[in-house]
Subunit: 433 residues, 2 copies
């Protein structure tokens, strides 16, 4: 099987066989295909598509390109959550301890996001001492002992995906549902989970801009994940304004901790609660959403979820005292309110605009090699529909540099629109598949 023959078959619109897909993924892993052959096939797949069956073969081959973690020593059904990413999306941090406190183990291996604001790993690393670079053995041990580990992708996990993702990024082949499916699911299926809940976001601050695209991706993820032998649910959620009131690493950890104290913002709690409820159902500890929500409520009210977060932080070398004293998190030098230019109601908070302001402050990475400043970002963001008086703060900007502060202030001001009336609220949860 010459690479060019396999490329030609996809180019001509044929479905590839399992063996052809395996040859492609093996070629990406062991270097037997040249990069220019991989990218030619990626473009052919982008333009010709792949069937659900092909995508399942692709996902399986990517998963098997590296180590598949064995968590059979951990009792109970192991359930993870994955989000396609959005601005202010810190859901994993309150969600994991809530779900574990309800008795469902959560093994969670995250990628380190390149983007406007940090990924989950970057947020967790804002906690002094917190380490995310656990080896696979330590991960297995911690999931068994604590019920949860929140770690970064190890080198031996789905190496084909690492290779192909890097190529896709520079060859305009990222936005392709079968390829996205394979990338997400190969890593998740390699974690050793039994079930997966997906948060597929759509809107201005999301990867998928429209509901229709997000639904197509969610459907594909569910079909392919199930073909991989896992229970899978997908929740479609809106991402036009940031989730919660903070964007920035330490600020988002503090907001996550507030959730576990029962003081989380309503939108963040709605999304976290919905995703967590489906995890409890798939984990076999709740019969339905109502029962699941009650259990989750108890885990917060009793302090069990907070205690679980302390355990996780301590297990990964972090300062667990942040759970009770978030002022131990890094603080920025300057904390400047952004005054509203007029009185009225917040009509629009453009998630992408907020993200770019945070990026300018140093909260995210423009390039993979950039360092992140954990302290900076935006807090106290008003939500769409909330009233504001002229001169009252629309948000607070946290900066460590006057120049960045000035630029970020301009960007943030441009991202928030204040109008005469509150407008009509948009539902946050669009559908559960």
């Amino acid at each position: 099987m010459f690479p060019q023959h396999i490329i030609a078959r996809k180019r001509d619109g044929h479905a590839l066989t399992r063996e052809e897909i395996q040859a492609f993924v093996r070629g990406a892993t062991d270097g037997s295909w040249a990069d220019y052959q991989l990218s030619a096939l990626l473009m052919a797949i982008f333009l010709r598509g792949m069937s659900a069956e092909e995508t399942a073969h692709y996902t399986e081959a990517m998963m098997r390109s590296g180590v598949v973690a064995d968590l059979s020593h951990v009792p109970g059904r192991k359930v993870d959550k994955h989000s396609t990413g959005g601005v202010g999306d810190k859901v994993s941090i309150p969600l994991a301890p809530m779900v574990v406190a309800c008795g469902v183990p959560v093994p969670m291996i995250s990628g380190r996001g390149l983007g406007h604001s940090g990924g989950t790993l970057d947020k967790l690393e804002a906690i002094p001492g917190f380490r995310t670079d656990l080896a696979l053995e330590a991960y297995r041990e911690q999931v068994a002992r604590v019920g949860c580990a929140l770690i970064g992708q190890t080198r031996d996990l789905a190496p084909a995906d690492k290779k192909l993702y890097a190529l896709r990024d520079v060859t305009a082949t990222v936005e392709c549902i079968p390829l996205i499916c394979g990338s997400i699911l190969s890593k998740k299926l390699a974690e050793g989970i039994d079930a997966l809940v997906l948060d597929v976001k759509f809107g201005r601050g999301a990867f998928m801009k429209t509901k229709a695209e997000a639904r197509r991706l969610a459907e594909a993820l569910v079909v392919v994940g199930r073909a991989g032998g896992k229970q899978v649910r997908a929740v479609l959620t809106a991402m036009d304004e940031p989730l919660g009131r903070t964007v920035g690493n330490a600020l988002e950890v503090a907001e996550s901790i507030a959730c576990l104290h029962g003081r989380g913002p309503a939108d963040l709690m709605e999304v976290t609660g919905t995703l967590a409820a489906h995890m409890l159902i798939l984990g076999g500890v709740a019969a339905d959403e109502k029962a699941a929500r009650e259990k989750l409520h108890q885990a917060i009210a009793s302090g069990a979820a907070r205690e679980k977060l302390r355990e996780i932080i301590a297990a990964q070398g972090g300062d667990a005292r942040v759970v009770d004293d978030p002022s131990r998190l890094p603080q920025a030098k300057f904390q400047e309110p952004l005054p509203s230019p007029r009185s009225g109601f917040v009509r629009e908070v453009d998630a992408m605009g907020v993200a770019l302001a945070a990026l300018r402050l140093g909260a995210g990475r423009a390039r993979a090699e950039d360092a992140i400043d954990p302290a900076v970002g935006v807090s106290h963001l008003l939500k769409v529909g909330e009233p504001v008086a002229a001169g009252a703060p629309l948000a607070v900007i946290h900066a460590n540099d006057r120049g960045a502060l000035a630029e970020a202030t301009q960007r943030l001001a441009a991202a928030i629109v204040v109008g005469d009336s509150p407008g009509i609220p948009v539902p946050l949860i669009e559908a559960v598949l």
Copy 2:
């Protein structure tokens, strides 16, 4: 202009601008685009196409990626011929001296074909001493002095095409009309010509299998060549059986010489005469085809064409005595007739089958680094429609190796079908565009 943005535009079906196409071709030439980005764009072009305008920009950028020969010191309109290639296609060798003898300079730079039988350069090199590796300066001087030079592609001519052609070969992006157009025309326009006659072949022994494909390619070549400021005509010719009665390098030179002695096979003379006639018209030395054919006939009858071939061979270091004594060309050790299994009429001579037999004998290259044996091949091939008696030769096989002879005999036998009736002849010249 990031490569991935240009790739994304073509991926999404947009027409690329001249600047975008220039950036792509510059990227191929100076290495500022990675191979995997070039191949991703090539696949996007393959699947999304390019307009005539884009193809013209692409061709121009490829031509300008290297040196463009200046032949303004040569009086008269310079006209070249290019063929998309076929089995037994030795047309250039009789054609060039015929056209030059009629007063039209023919500057001809050929690629060294990778394929079943050798390219024009390989055929010429069967002449003892003949050199095709002239530098551009020697080429310019010889065209001025002799009216013709038959040389190989120099390193400084359209280097972007060399790079992209090699990539296309291993990424299944060869059979794409805009890319083929750019590849052919960029090199031809860089020769310093005023006009070009194209022989676009279709059929089992051609690159384009159907008339419709060949016509699309021919139309694109004409449009894009004219956009490049050249006079261009294309002739569509059938290529189901080999052209002439020989396949193999020295054998084809001998057959070409026979043409100049007035003893060429009818099909080869028909194609050569038609292409040459259009060259005389574009060269401004004949008003119409009838006048052109008369001039060409005179060039052969008077011996002027033979004399011109002697001059060209001598100018390029070859033994010009082969023109009068073809036995000076390399001869194979074994010359075995292939007997007809029955009496009847030749119904089919599969050009591809004959080519593969010749390849097995060593007449062509399976890989670019393979050496060619100039002496081997097939001669005395019967043409479709000709009668044959049982046991009489269908062809003569020239081999230097018994094993190759046995295998080639089998392949050749399978390529020739003898039936009860002569069948209905197919026109050789399909159309002139």
